[in-house]
Symmetry: D3
Subunit: 321 residues, 6 copies
């Protein structure tokens, strides 16, 4: 099982898998398991993220294995394969969450870290349920987003991409006291929207706070929260400013650059124990020049490099520490 060599076969060639990695099936075993979840029925505004997994695979063609910032070669340290997509049932949110959970449980049972290509953010609830079903314990949450997604219900119904972390707290899938949401800046329906997660112990770093205090302080705080526990990392692409990630359903201005995101990710993920990750809310039909999918794929690449760095127990060169 080898990735394609892009110096021999041009990277615009061939059937698209993430980073041109080999394809695998459920009973294979690799350090990293790429799984798409093409689901967007839980979207409150613009739909279309069902094409997110395909866009992330396409954008990832351009990525290469060696990360000069961390001085680490991903493929020297990790085995990675693309396991295709989960089934879903468009228009049936609750049933789709069940189908996705069922599809993901075997991955969480194996010694692998699943990386899910979304899909709208509601799928994270299915991932966390699968993780819990497999591992029987809750996880710390490291969450980059413009929205806290903790609204109990929308339109009189429980499941929506604005609600997964309300349910995750409620169902005991995550440990709020060991969790942190970073970059939250979308306007709110009212001042009490964030009360529930805060009461449960969640740390919510507003975008304005991150802008004021800077990345380094928030990195420290995130580490102090999630270090020592298994961590689930969820990255909503709208953490990035609308200029850096226009192709998403509810973009928000006054956000963060890819530099800020990747810097924080590398600083945190080289020091923690991530057991699952997703990258959600890439909406290709609004991503007119493709930079959103590229940003999403590169976020995953930064996680892979950090994970490889940690595994290789390597001392970082140059400016990274």
């Amino acid at each position: 099982m080898k990735a394609v060599n892009s110096l021999e076969i041009p990277r615009f060639s061939g059937i698209r898998t993430f980073m041109r990695m080999p394809q695998a099936a459920e009973d294979d075993l690799t350090d990293i398991s790429i799984v798409g979840v093409p689901f967007d029925s839980a979207t409150s505004f613009r739909a279309g993220t069902r094409f997110g997994p395909a866009a992330l695979r396409e954008a990832s063609l351009i990525l290469k294995p060696y990360c000069p910032v961390l001085d680490v070669d991903i493929l020297e340290n990790l085995t990675i394969a693309d396991y295709g997509d989960s089934p879903t049932i468009p228009g049936y949110t609750a049933e789709s969450l069940d189908a996705i959970q069922k599809h993901l449980v075997p991955f969480y049972r194996k010694k692998t870290v699943p990386i899910v290509l979304g899909g709208d953010h509601c799928i994270t609830l299915a991932e966390l349920r699968a993780m819990y079903e497999a591992k029987k314990e809750p996880t710390a949450l490291l969450h980059f987003d413009a929205h806290s997604d903790t609204i109990p219900e929308y339109f009189g119904k429980p499941y929506n991409h604005g609600s997964p972390f309300y349910h995750a707290i409620n169902e005991g899938l995550i440990i709020p006291e060991k969790s942190i949401q970073i970059g939250i800046r979308g306007h709110l329906y009212d001042r009490h929207v964030l009360d529930y997660p805060k009461e449960k112990g969640m740390r919510i770093v507003l975008g304005d706070e991150l802008h004021h205090r800077g990345c380094d302080e928030i990195i420290a705080e995130a580490l102090s929260r999630v270090q020592g526990s298994p961590v689930f990392l969820t990255f909503d692409i709208d953490f990035l400013d609308a200029a850096f990630a226009p192709g998403t359903g509810t973009p928000e201005v006054e956000g963060f650059s890819t530099r800020q995101a990747l810097y924080m990710l590398r600083k945190i993920c080289t020091k923690i124990n991530v057991i699952g990750m997703d990258l959600v809310e890439v909406l290709p039909d609004r991503d007119t020049s493709g930079i959103t999918a590229l940003a999403g794929a590169t976020v995953i690449h930064a996680f892979l490099a950090s994970f490889a760095w940690k595994k290789s127990n390597k001392l970082c060169q140059g400016y990274f520490r």
Copy 2:
């Protein structure tokens, strides 16, 4: 309640309503009631038609009241108002169908012809249920589409934009023997997909047949089927060729021009008793130059002109007869 005069106030001005018609509320009464149904959760491929009603309103700004083909002025003969949109519940198809039905019943109870701006084609099931609930009898169906939408279930679930007419037949909402589907040309999952509607008496005119026999023969056949009954007219924009309507979720090539569509509509609708209409499956995010929404709005305009012509009992001038 008057439309805005576009010779006085440029038509790019103001809050968008269909054809710049006045806004109205549920208890008003007009000959024609424009109602949006921004629902797309039942879509099997590309979502996004929830923005269809807004796109149709925007595109309709360009339309003017006098139709030179029929020599009839719509506004001299009809009162028209825009009643805004129905509620929906994204991600909950069955529940949305109920909400839409509930919203539409009052319109069918009034002496008005509702024209629904879709939305994916699944909403027609809610319209037909509302019509049936109000009028207590089934209707003839005049259906332009590339797909017959008569598949019993998708992904193990009953409601999908590929299934409304299966349910409409099954629930007795339409009279198959007085119904006709025109332009059906999408490839099929297998040869038996069309058996059920045919057995029930539905006439299905394949696209290939319409191309061979020509519009006039099919017009005659449609009239012979639906004349004499109240008729529900449903127009899926993908009846048009992908070149004429690229902005839809499941476009099909080898289709029909706007000329063919409008010609057939005028020839048929000036001679029948339409009690409800919809225009569905306009998907703005894929409608890069806006011609699909324009085609959709003009289809509605052609229906309005035909309806006005019939009401005015006018003998048509010139080339139309």
Copy 3:
């Protein structure tokens, strides 16, 4: 003064002129004078045709000199140069018409046929005034369009892209009895909009009539009208169906294909005496895939080939006659 050879220098190279023709200045003399008029302030709906001349030049790169339908080589029979653009004053319609007229008069005084790249249709009024100022006599009008553009005033003002031919008739610049408007199909503000031009003797061929009677009958009628007089040819790109020319400000469905347009043009223009031409209403910002500018450039090419054919007194080969 020679065109660039695209078999030697790739046609995507170099500073853009129409069909890669040489540039010239006002006092040069060529059979054909290409002049841009980048003006769109008189637009009633979508502006942006001020970038029409540049888009037509860009699209024309792809055109080659030999027309196989007419078996004629344009460059063997005609000298052509690109004279750049006329001055205009954005936001000042009346003053711009004066500036354009002043710029064009010298061309009409020379033994050349000016071909104007528009711009919105209001510029044709300036062209006709320039033609009249130079030649002191009115002209027959051969007009392809979806709109007759004969509304006396818009928003209380005389000059608008919906009004040039009202003024042209009124000012005696064209001879209505020798003129014809073909393809008119836009809906109208009221039934009397077309009364004035008809009363003055203009022949208006509605789109519906052209669809019914076919191109050949209308070609014959056009020839019987305009043959024997000098003819001004004006081609609004929205004569074409919205599918064939999406990039225009007021597109109309139920229109005509490029095949129909070019067929009619060749049949008519090989037999008449054109003294001026324009191609108007190409709006690049709405022309997402560039086919509208390509259609516009090819319409001009068809005119050039017809003109070359006539000049060469050639008997046409093959299917054209």
Copy 4:
């Protein structure tokens, strides 16, 4: 008069008004009056901002009432309604300025703050004239832009979107000594273009200066200039960098992020007395992914939150002060 609740009716539903606010007519009274001015005839380069008001309304659907940065709920403190659009006369700049002024005077006579959705920047001249006609005194100007727009004439004519503030100074509508232009960075026709406004007392903060000195210093300077007087706030979207606001007619690189803009706005507008505001130069046809209209709508939201904060006399929480 209530805004629509987006937790009940999805925000992609219904007839578009700004932030889903109720519609109102001229003789209603609300704290804030949203008025569109769909005018772009005074544009020197790319036209199309006549569709700006519609795009801003569409983009504003996503905005919610509570601002977490200022800890203030806009709708708890302010009544807001959408009053539709002003009339304009495309292609007649001077006459349009008169029509816009006439339309706006009643708003300035009422106890309301009009927020105008542009349109090109020339409309600000009409707004200032209306303000002056109603209030009989000039105002301080707080102006965010890439261009100072103080050129006396373009193409031999006085009114152009590059000239409004020359006329505003000249006509005594603003008090240059109490005014400030921030972010000016477009290249100039010559070094003397900025002499006139400077001689009259205007403070012009070049983009380079803002980059060097940082937002806080310029905020202080702006406050020292405009505090104590009634202030007119005009925000040209091209103050933002082209990456953050590509959809405008004369974008400029080396500009500012939405973070910088909103930070400055909140810091300044919570402390001053704004009597009129506009947001201009959003050009939807160039706004391929919609982030420009979103940025524009969010700028207005930041102003509304600041205004609500000031009205509520609230002490700001957290990082804002």
Copy 5:
């Protein structure tokens, strides 16, 4: 090896292969072998068709196995697999032709019909060379295109997407007397461009001739030419009118609809012995709404259905004969 069932797993899911067919490797054997050739270095105008194979795979997701026109189920009659892409060397045309040829020879040696997803038209030369190397005899050519692509050299070099059929004739790969080019309508560099292929015996049906004589006459002529020999079918997407296939490098107006193309293909391909096929010149970056890739994928589907029909020896139902 089975295709994915789109009634169970939504067709927007999974790793993209043509029509969701199984993947295979060189030594597998299926009736039909899908092979991509992502090469565009030989393009004389717009490059980008290297992304054609990926776009065709994406567009093909929407296609289903049963063709109602021919009443045939492709998958009941044929085994099909996707064999991924050929290697290429961007910027080295001659060397790439060699690499492609080498990659394709094994397919032509097997009992399979390779269908190549292009790529620019120059790759057909490599295909024909591979076919000849494997089978040791030339083939009849059935060629749909707007351009005859028989120019000996461009820019002083032999290989260009305007030259493959010059070389194919010259190298004895095709039998001109048994070959036909249909739809040729691009303007020419000069009148002698088509002399060489005609002298060699090639039949060139100009677009104008096809428009005049109609599809049925040309179908008959094509059959009389290519029946009885093995046939290589090459379909350049620009055979279609620019309105039907905007996403290509050298689009041409005055072309043909998808209806005309598919009608001709079915009528011809059910009666001939095709040994190789390609679909070339789809350029995704210019295919703003995706209809070009859809048209291309459907052309291949029509060929597959015709091939299946022939293999099943089926008597066609309904309107096809």
Copy 6:
């Protein structure tokens, strides 16, 4: 030879040259010579930069001569002309490099600074060869880019847009010890990719290092490297972050803003002796809103202003020093 005055003739008018400068031919002499090189065959991923020169000319229309940051008027200090484009041979990389070199040598022999509008980055090799052929000595290299482009071969061939600086070092065209590459951040095929240039003495400033140390430190280092020698300045537009320059073939996130780029350029270029410059890798088909071409044209403008400033021996005003 004068530029067009955009206060008299609107800048959207006329045949496009860079900054509306006069056109010139090879034997003219100006301080600055604008030359396009429309070549993209050496592209390893997305092609299309052959349309870069045209896009840069179009975008440059908006630029004006006076730079307020440097307080310098370009046209008061420099003569500039647009010399059109170099010949190229699409699909033949080595031969194209020769043709470009031959075209450029005469410019390097004249007392002019050629500014090349690219084109993919491989063309820089032809420029450096031409420079060397004319001047007989190597040059220092000042290189802004996301990629070092020092890979010896791709796909078994020497010339590719990822390889020019390997060859430039190897052929002795540049002096590595006096050269610097700034902003390099693309992931690498392996850790040894950068060994060769480093061993030869090249200074490679990774993007991460530039982010950490800031512009001022890197400016100082660049000056210490290249001052005192003739300098060739090459600017790959992907030095900019993908949000600021989406329209390029291999965009990279975590990059730099236009502010950072222009700030560095002005600080460096006012103090060094540049003898040649290029701006490469603008890919219009991916530049959906045109900001990439605008950024590219403005980079050239910043160089021109710096060059003019240096020539005028002017002391910089305001914040620049």
